[in-house]
Amino acid sequence: MELKGAELEQVKNLLKPGDYYLSGNEAAAEGAIACGCDFYAGYPITPSSEIMERMAQRLPELGRCFVQMEDEIGSISAVIGASWAGARAMTATSGPGFSLMMEGLGYAVFTETPLVVMDIQRAGPCTGQATRVGAGDIMQAKWGMHGDVQVIALSPWSVQEMYELGIQAFNMAEKYRVPVVLLGEEAIGHLRERIRIPERVPIIRRDRSKDRPPFGTEEPAGIPPMPAFGEGAHLLVTGSTHDPWGVRRTEDPEVHQRLVERINRKILARREEICRTEEYFLQDAEEAVIAYGFTARSALYAVRRLREKGRRVGLLRLQTLWPFPEQAVDTLSRRVKRILVPEMNLGQVLGEVQKVARCQVQAYNQVNGEIIHPEAILESMERRG
């Protein structure tokens, strides 16, 4: 990643490099730890609790801070407070807890507070099926807050990626001064796979300069520096509309417009730098599947089977969901005749694909608390072939 102001360094991994057999939740916690996460606040909720349990063990061992809060609102609040005190801070939760965190997440967006939320999605709405899988929080991660906001949301499809995106989430949060949501799913959180722990981990640290205003830049898409409490910066942090130095300006239309536009632009102007996708068998494809998370595993299986049968089909896997990888979807839609979007919800990414795609877009939706079986995608493709 290209850097300005922020520092990048390679640090030695705390786990001995090599192969491990871990669950997705354990791997995500280890990724966070490897990337310097030194504050965790959370509240138990299935199916994310293993992240907190791992943190409760590992962080104190490393002399870092762990606290179990009284609820999810308290958790996100403590994470924001710690981040301003200089921490690389995170929490983990699932649907109902994620709902409770929305106001705090909006505060973090507006005050440009780096933090990571790992939302291990379960079958909603409401309490739903607490132990079952779903992917119903995609829209909530972006639109669950009031007002116009941008966050970064990542979607891992393996235990290895729970680890790697756990690292990337922190680096992106620090670099762009934005909350990053790791949109895991129960099926990945509880999956056990072999993963490879590397020798070194890239770490991006926030720019802590005190010479420039912490809440404004000359550039309309700029990212200001962020000193910490206790460094003599006399920080004024507020969730009300504020000028570049943090002074409340709650009735000035220009200040509000400029601030809201900047916190949106700073992410959208870097969309292509942030967005990551992977292509499988797309070079000569006439039709494609767009998938993310666990569903992309099933989709890849289906694509391989269809290839064996001679169908020219490929897969575009979305690793970034917010900001939405519009460019990749647009490019793909100009090359293929149709796109299938299988999802463990009633069509949340589907709508985003439809916004940009120039070909036919079809959906395969399942909200029964189970993963989408590879055969189901295969059948769906064959039926529509």
Binding site: V67, S77, A85, E103
Partner: protein, 253 residues
């Protein structure tokens, strides 16, 4: 006269937003004089506040790090900052509705943990900023914009609540007792644990007018006349204590 605390205030902020007769200005002075009396450096202090009039006491006036948070969440934000950097002398200043109603859960849990922070609750017995709605601290029978027939619910005894939850310094004084209030804040700051100071601060605009308390001066006099010390209260019967507020230190080392 008020300028002796200049060194603790941001030069660029020239006036407070408080209504004439509001008790919060006296409380602001008491907080700064307590810090001054202890010789604490503002560079080491973090002031956290929620939403409401009292939340504007530290933010943006105090020349220190200030964190103006969400409604009810000041104590939880402060918990994160203090746990991560225990060197920060962490002070929460907020109102009764913010701390004890929407934020009540965070308040009792922070007290239970006996976290080393000082929470100063400016209790005006009403939601001032939003227009005078009933609070969890409004006296029985009092008028508010949401209790047109008078408040039907008994109020919280905030000091009793926080003491029961585990706070290790708990005191209540009115802003009409500025020196006692200042001393309580100093003791709270010195206590290595969770300190809670309830500062009774009249709201002439939203509470006083509706409840016919007269001018701002008369509201302050009314507060003064309602206060009885713990010692006096121990000799008074239940009936004599009707409409009275007990002041003093309820938990101390």
């Amino acid at each position: 006269m008020a300028r002796d605390m200049d060194a603790y205030l941001r030069e660029e902020i020239q006036s407070t937003p408080f209504c004439p007769g509001c008790g919060h200005g006296i409380l602001m002075g008491a907080i700064l004089r307590a810090i001054d009396g202890l010789g604490l450096s503002m560079e080491r202090m973090l002031f956290v506040s929620g939403i409401g009039c009292a939340a504007w006491i530290p933010s943006p006036h105090f020349k220190a790090d200030t964190l103006h948070t969400l409604h009810g969440r000041a104590v939880a934000f402060a918990t994160g900052a203090k746990l991560y950097n225990p060197e920060l002398i962490t002070v929460v200043v907020s109102g009764d509705g913010d701390l004890s109603s929407i934020g009540g859960n965070h308040l009792i849990h922070a007290a239970r943990r006996n976290l080393d922070m000082t929470v100063i609750c400016a209790n005006n017995m009403i939601y001032g900023m939003t227009g005078g709605q009933v609070a969890s601290t409004t006296p029985l029978g009092a008028q508010s914009s949401t209790t047109p027939s008078g408040n039907q619910e008994p109020p919280f005894d905030l000091c009793g609540l926080v003491a029961a939850a585990g706070a290790t310094y708990v005191a209540r004084y009115g802003v009409v007792q500025p020196l006692l209030l200042q001393r309580a804040i100093q003791r709270g700051l010195q206590n290595k644990g969770f300190s809670f100071i309830e500062a009774l601060s009249p709201c002439p605009t939203q509470f006083g007018r509706r409840n016919r308390m007269g001018s701002a001066g008369e509201a302050l006099k009314g507060l003064r006349d309602s206060l009885v010390s713990r010692k006096e209260a121990s000799k008074m019967g239940k009936e004599a204590l009707q409409g009275k507020v007990i002041y003093g230190e309820f938990v101390h080392g």
